[in-house]
């Protein structure tokens, strides 16, 4: 292990995802290979290039909070975050006598979605006579139709702020946004804040939904999404030769991170220990990952070094595995580069094959699945794995879950713009 430093353990977890409203439902669907992907219900996507997504189903905030109306202006990010945080804090079973000033929040949160109907109609109105928007017409339309509370809640710091207000968390309160790596980065930096003695407990994770007209428009324009409209449940096929893009998901995941001695003193359940964290940038292209996986390799190495573990200690890799051509090839390359021959002996799977890509919330949701693997000794499969890709030749746990007891799990998250995060979670040993 590393030189003397404060150790950080996980004492609570919560998740609301396309695979259910809590952690048990998420993990159960994962190990049974059940997909949460279907035609989009949030809005009419019938003429979009991609018409399906992994949505959170049957969700009403009032089922969880009788006074849900107080968050009526909040968007899905905050709504999902509230539910996941509530589950995580109940799971952690915190005493009421805690020093609240030592209890912080660190989220990787997405930005909210602009008011699509009112914004687009305001632009149309402001451009009836001209090809560029007439500011006066635009302002009149926008100021008379935009809802102030809703506009405010689009800002990314509001989610972490709402959690701190509700649960009286007075410690450091951070939000980061590094695209698909954000919630993993949030967890990594939250661990570092506890190690650095800036806090004893951090509620950390992320929330995001981009299943809205602007989100699907943006990703469709980038041709990043699968267009497998005929058979949505088959669309997310990480590492399969015929993968054609990722599938948007939505939701939130939260973990309670706690300094080890603090957790022991209060007799907390300990689900695992956060042992390694790596963060690097590709510094290559805004649109593509580095073709040799330069940033990803350095990132995994940094996490291993941080944990003091050797590559042979890693028993399972929870891959970023987006189901895009480039990501899955480069991630495979990076794993082989770091682990060498050992790479072929480590099971690797992508939770996104079932729950889609939760964007900012993806990393923490996958970390939570990994934590469950430490408890239950069953590793989730990569579903829809039918045709091997010669460039992706690792053991991806094809289609059927596998029983295996592992002690150390690597979880990767790689974001747009070349943002790389790797986390290592380990079975707790005193």
């Amino acid at each position: 292990m590393q030189k003397h430093r404060r150790r950080v353990v996980i004492t609570g977890k919560g998740a609301i995802t396309p695979l259910g409203h809590n952690v048990d439902q998420l993990y159960d669907a994962q190990v049974h290979g059940r997909s949460g992907i279907a035609m989009i219900r949030n809005f009419d996507a019938s003429t979009f290039p991609t018409k399906f997504a992994a949505e959170v189903k049957d969700f009403r905030l009032s089922d969880y909070f009788p006074d849900a109306d107080r968050w009526r202006h909040a968007g899905p990010n905050t709504r999902f975050a509230l539910v996941a945080a509530k589950e995580a804090l109940a799971d952690a079973d915190m005493p009421s006598s805690l020093d609240r000033s030592r209890f912080g929040v660190y989220l990787g949160n997405g930005d909210g979605s602009n008011d699509f109907p009112n914004l687009i109609s305001a632009i149309a109105r402001a451009t009836q006579a001209e090809s560029r928007a007439n500011p006066s017409v635009f302002f009149e339309a926008a100021l008379s139709t935009f809802e102030a509370g809703h506009e405010y809640e689009l800002e990314m710091h509001t989610t972490a702020g709402r959690l701190a207000q509700l649960f009286d968390l007075q410690g450091p309160n951070y939000t980061c946004q590094t695209a698909c790596a954000a919630s993993s980065q949030a967890v990594g930096e939250a661990v570092e804040m506890i190690r650095a003695d800036d806090a004893d407990i951090m509620l950390s994770g992320g929330a995001h939904s981009m299943i809205h007209p602007f989100g699907v428009t943006g990703f469709n324009l980038l041709t990043a999404l699968s267009t497998h409209n005929d058979e949505p449940v088959k669309a997310s096929r990480p590492f399969d030769l015929n993968r054609d893009g990722f599938v948007l998901g939505e939701g939130a995941g939260m973990v309670v991170l706690e300094e080890l001695e603090h957790a022991k003193r209060r007799g907390a359940k300990i689900y695992g220990e956060m042992t390694g964290y790596g963060t690097t940038a590709d510094a290559y292209r805004v649109t593509d990952s580095h073709p040799d996986g330069r940033g990803a390799i350095a990132c995994i190495r940094m996490a291993l070094e941080d944990s003091g573990l050797s590559p042979t200690d890693i028993g399972y890799i929870n891959a970023h595995g987006t189901s895009t051509q480039v990501n899955d090839r480069v991630e495979t390359l990076a794993i082989k580069n770091v682990f060498g021959e050992q790479a072929y002996k480590i099971p690797v799977s992508s939770n996104k094959s079932m729950m889609g890509h939760l964007i900012s919330a993806a990393g923490v949701a996958e970390l939570i699945v990994s934590i469950m693997c430490l408890q239950k000794h069953v590793l989730p499969p990569t579903i829809n794995y039918e045709t091997p890709d010669p460039e992706c030749d690792l053991d991806y746990i094809p289609n059927v879950a596998r029983e295996k007891r592992v002690d150390h799990i690597l979880s990767n998250s790689f974001g747009f713009g070349g943002q790389n995060i790797s986390l290592i979670v380990s079975r707790f040993r005193d």
């Binding site: 009836q128 509001t158 713009g417």
Partner: protein, 434 residues
């Protein structure tokens, strides 16, 4: 004092603000008391309740980039896919590198980190004109999604979304300077930039990098962004006297003004700075952050105390506090209460300096730009007055410095920032006397 972690110093800064596009012009404006707030010129703002703002003038990103340099040429070609916020950050990052005397390629890429602050970067409405016109008749809220999907969506530029993703400033900057180390974008409202600097310090101390570019850029002067902020930000109605409009801690303050700006710092370990023979501007001694659950200033006070504790200083060591000083009735009072709680209100309490009278509200860039002003004051040994605080509000029990230049005698200052929801952060800085 026993230090178990590396010392962290500031060795460069690049700033583009409503009062100047380089350090010399900015200092000149601060000395002359020349506010950068004026009637908005970027577009016809006559229909807005608050029509004044802190605009940057004469900003031509192209001028800062050299086509002959392959990396700068990539940035040049990418400019059209960057919102103004991203362009500002990119250019400021280059100015910071040059101020730090860090030649391209001279910092080991794997030890070169980025920490930027951002708020929501706004969509530019002119990018959606064709798609909107075909899908909506302009009646409020009426959009035909079927037409949008079929005809609207394909009319939009393919890379459209990358123009405003919050992490894009850091991504473009990573490519420009080949920064392959830790990289994060903090999105904590108007305290984001300050918190990004705090995180850079934390990472340098734990040894995962030697050198950081850190700070933020933010421009709210686009049609959508300003419309949104008119709805939820407390904005002044003093449209007739823009230079006197934003009045931190003054009795007759009535809100802030929208603005734009950027500051990016080169921050590194002392050892790294000395090894490369850098000129050191200042040392960062402490950082603290907290949440004001009750919005009563207790969180701000805790953040300041944490920063002082980390710096191993007593409140009496601090020469001046660079406040957030939004210029709103409510928040200035809360902030003053917090500062008084930590530093007292007596004759020995530090002077308080608020700089939004010059610039207005700069979103994520508020902290970094105001930190740059404070560093200049410390370097020149003179603290400019809090502009427009003609009659300090007795409900703000602090010693606002509001007239003339005041000598800076002690070598330490504290920078405070917060969000309207309650996130707050404080940074303690020491003058570098060698």
């Amino acid at each position: 004092m026993a230090r178990s972690f590396p010392r962290v110093v500031i060795t460069g800064l690049g700033a583009i603000t409503p009062i100047g596009n380089d350090s010399a012009s900015i200092w000149q404006a601060l000395v002359e008391g020349r506010s950068g707030i004026a009637p908005i010129q970027a577009f016809d703002a006559s229909k807005l309740p608050s029509r004044i703002g802190g605009e940057i003038h004469d900003f031509t990103p192209r001028k800062y980039l050299n086509r002959a340099d392959p990396r700068e040429n990539v940035a040049l070609k990418g400019l059209k896919m960057m919102a103004r916020t991203i362009q500002l950050a990119l250019v400021a990052s280059k100015l910071a590198m040059s101020d730090a005397g860090a030649a391209p390629g001279s910092i080991e890429p794997s030890r070169f980190g980025l920490e930027f602050g951002a708020t929501m970067i706004s969509i530019e409405v002119d990018d959606l004109v064709a798609a909107s016109k075909v899908s909506s008749n302009g009646q409020p809220g009426q959009v035909d999604l079927v037409t949008w999907g079929k005809e609207g969506l394909p009319s939009i530029e393919p890379l459209w979304m990358l123009k405003f993703l919050p992490n894009m400033p850091a991504c473009h900057i990573s490519i420009l300077h080949d920064a392959q180390g830790p990289s994060n974008t903090i999105t904590e409202g108007e305290v984001a930039g300050l918190m990004a600097i705090g995180e850079a310090v934390r990472i340098l101390r734990r040894g995962q990098a030697d050198f950081f570019l850190t700070g933020a850029a933010d421009s709210k002067l686009s049609l959508l962004s300003i419309a949104r902020h008119e709805l939820f930000l407390p904005l002044t109605r003093r449209n007739e006297e823009p230079k006197r409009a934003v009045r931190p801690f003054d009795q007759s303050r009535d809100g802030t003004a929208i603005g734009e700006g950027t500051t990016v710092f080169a921050v590194e370990t002392l050892e790294h700075a000395q090894k490369r023979g850098a000129t050191i501007h200042a040392e960062i001694l402490g950082f603290g952050s907290a949440f004001d659950t009750r919005r009563d200033g207790q969180g701000m006070a805790r953040a300041m105390r944490a920063a002082l504790r980390q710096a191993d200083l007593a409140p009496g060591d601090i020469d001046f506090v660079s406040a957030h000083g939004l210029g709103s009735i409510e928040f200035d009072q809360i902030e003053a209460k917090a500062i008084a709680d930590v530093f007292g209100s007596g004759p020995d309490a530090p002077a308080v300096f608020g700089s939004k009278g010059w610039t207005g509200y700069l979103g994520a860039a508020s902290g970094p730009v105001e930190l740059a002003f404070a560093l200049m004051a410390m370097r020149h040994g003179q603290l400019p007055p809090t502009l427009n605080c003609d009659h300090p509000d007795p409900a703000c029990p602090i010693r606002v410095h509001h007239a003339g230049m005041r000598p800076v005698t002690k070598p330490y200052f504290l920078k405070l920032g917060y969000t309207d929801l309650g996130q707050c952060a404080a940074l303690v800085v020491r003058r570098w006397d060698g």
